[in-house]
Symmetry: C3
Subunit: 144 residues, 3 copies
């Protein structure tokens, strides 16, 4: 299931020390009126909250990492859920000995520094998240 999009605005910027990573990205998208697109980022966090989806129990388990970590990659997308712009992103984080960790980015991840890019995408039939029975997740429906 896929759509062809027109490229809209390209936004590059940074977050500030102390920002909550996910809700701040979400707020920027809302303020700019971006309802679909891609995003990527690198940076560092003072602590992170990440999720893992238990495919059998069909629920997210969350983990809090109370450590200073590099954001080795943040990759995600923006689409509509309940008519509002919704950011879905996964992160890979790195520690002082080079070890890597990661998961589904959750609220409660404290920015130390973060440089991001958002590529807005435009289309006539938007991608909308609806409950997907096979997975228990809110995924893009077959029709807009």
């Amino acid at each position: 299931m896929h759509r062809t999009f027109t490229r809209g605005r390209t936004i590059m910027g940074r977050l500030h020390k102390g920002d909550d990573l996910l809700p701040t990205l979400q707020r920027i998208c809302s303020e700019l009126g971006i309802s679909q697109g891609n995003l990527s980022a690198i940076g560092a966090v003072a602590g992170a909250r990440i999720g893992y989806y238990d495919q059998t129990q069909r629920r997210y388990e969350f983990l809090h990492l109370s450590r200073h970590l590099e954001i080795l990659s943040l990759m995600g997308n923006v689409s509509l859920k309940d008519g509002e712009a919704f950011v879905h992103a996964h992160v890979v984080l790195g520690d002082e000995s080079g070890g890597a960790f990661g998961g589904h980015l959750a609220e409660g991840t404290e920015v130390f520094a973060c440089e991001f890019t958002i590529q807005e995408l435009l289309t006539e039939t938007p991608l909308r998240r609806v409950m997907d029975d096979p997975t228990g997740l809110f995924l893009w429906g077959e029709v807009g």
Copy 2:
């Protein structure tokens, strides 16, 4: 060695539970007639098959991870090999305790959920994969 490209179509979509990740991305590129571009994705897999290139023995060693894992990042490209669109992608995967793993994405990686973007790129002199003597890999030749 590099070329300047014109941006073609931007495709965003999702795969379905049970899809084989790499061949499905490959099939989508073939069906859309995309012969060059970039791709990225996040999601989750029910199991993964990843490769590591042994630079001394000059061959891929493959590893099967029979676990439920998050796709923390999938980053790759599309180019021509033997006249056909060929997807080359690397993945980082995450487990329930936040640990990260990864390698060269191989056939045999079972999708649980996957949200992808493909950016088509167009050029007059395409990138074609040819055997590269210094590495033993099929890399983009100096001439198209």
Copy 3:
């Protein structure tokens, strides 16, 4: 703090066995006159030098990995520092058993193979790196 950009050139290419990853990407940007943009890459290295920013001591600690590793992801950006194009990139690397490592990409990372994309971004008020007091890092200033 963010800006809207116009998309410039899209460059895709590869590096060569033995290249020093970060300075070679930097040189390509300089030669092409790219002063702002994004970059991504996958590939493999014969050894890597990566940094971790100690948020308390406010200095980078560097680590040398004398191993053959896959580049599972390289994600970064290009912007102006002291009037010159400056590449900031983070990498995730993978070993023969699928383990993942990573950090801030530093000079001294030896390419085995590397396929990269650079997306040039253009704007009237460029992003310029200036010393940021709260972090001790050179980050994009509030004004151009």
